[in-house]
Symmetry: C2
DNA sequence: GTCTATAGCGGGATAGAC
DNA sequence: GTCTATCCCGCTATAGAC
């Protein structure tokens, strides 16, 4: 049962870590959620930190996979932007707690996160990926295909509009939305909404 | 020294809670940061939860104060939006960890937060405030002063663009920005940037 | 591989001296 | 009001039986 148990534990760990964060999660939580004994977690993964490393690394990767596909595709600049937005929002729709999990751990436990990210960046040539996209944006600006904009600001805006609603769900449903139904409607229309507002801000 | 000590403790608690979140913070942390004895925290505030309640309540209020002023002013719709954006971003510039703190605690420790927020909402007539603003947006849409837009989506976008960059500072500086200098430059230009992109999306 | 039992430590909270 | 000392619980981690 080795493979199965390992997988069950990681899936349980995902669930609990996403929900409560690193500091709010106990090994007992994970064991109970997985339906296995506490000692087993240590048998398979030795420490809480090792489990967390796997969970965080997977989370980080899944936030990155789609954007990476989008950036390396040979679509034009508008299509690329659409792909990025779609990738981000779909990932968040599928795993609503994922963006908040990643952002919070990077803010609060950065000493634990940075080595993981460094490793990831080296293996996946992250820098080049973005550099090429930035050059593309700048050249499209010079050629008059789009407005002259700051590519980093563009990425910041896309990420903000894509992730924040999921990270702030409880805040928004308390203060901005009349009820959860209205919130969920917004989430469904989010890809189209963001795409329109980003595109309309860069067309000449 | 009663007044002073109380204040010193709360200020230290703010600093530590903002940095590490509720679950990552210990009473010993707060005591050390405040430069006072551990027992004193319990003498003044009895429990960790009571201290947290004060800190969270203040944080929540400071996110709300400026928007409240903006919404009750007699400025026109464009000016109001500018005021809201300015209020949010300035608050975040002054206390960069505040948005992340509030959003994360609401996501993770909602059972502790909701009673605090309920209390706040009742005392400050929060619902009416937003209702009036929503009506204003809708009427401006009907009159052709602005596009017909969903007021809740507008608020979501403003909040997203205003808060997310601060919540995701480490993520952005690792993946999107070449260095911290570029990130800080973006932060400085944020109010103008957001205002322009929000306004250009609602003008007819 | 999976369990029980427990070591060892760090956390919130309190008693009681000053 | 402020301190030291301490209780007691829950946490991570491990030893050892099966």
């Amino acid at each position: 049962m080795k493979q199965d148990t390992e997988k069950i534990i990681i899936e349980a760990a995902c669930k609990v870590f996403y929900e409560k964060g690193y500091n709010g999660t106990t090994m007992r939580d994970i064991a109970q959620t997985a339906g296995v004994n506490l000692a087993l977690l240590h048998y398979y993964f030795r420490t809480k930190d090792k489990i967390f490393e796997i969970v965080f690394s997977d989370a980080f990767t899944s936030l990155f996979k789609k954007i990476s596909q989008a950036l390396t595709s040979d679509a034009d600049i508008f299509e690329k932007i659409k792909l990025i937005i779609t990738g981000y929002v779909q990932t968040a729709q599928k795993h609503p707690q994922l963006p908040g999990f990643v952002m919070h751990e990077m803010a609060v436990n950065s000493q634990l996160m940075l080595p993981i990210i460094m490793k990831y960046k080296e293996q996946n040539h992250v820098v080049n990926l973005f550099d090429n996209f930035y050059v593309e944006i700048e050249e499209a600006g010079k050629k008059g295909i789009i407005k002259k904009i700051n590519p980093e600001s563009l990425c910041t805006d896309i990420l903000s509009l894509s992730f924040f609603p999921f990270m702030a769900k409880n805040y928004l449903t308390e203060l901005i939305y009349k009820d959860k139904k209205t919130f969920n409607l917004m989430v469904k229309q989010r890809i189209e909404h963001i795409t329109n507002s980003i595109i309309s801000n860069i067309i000449v």
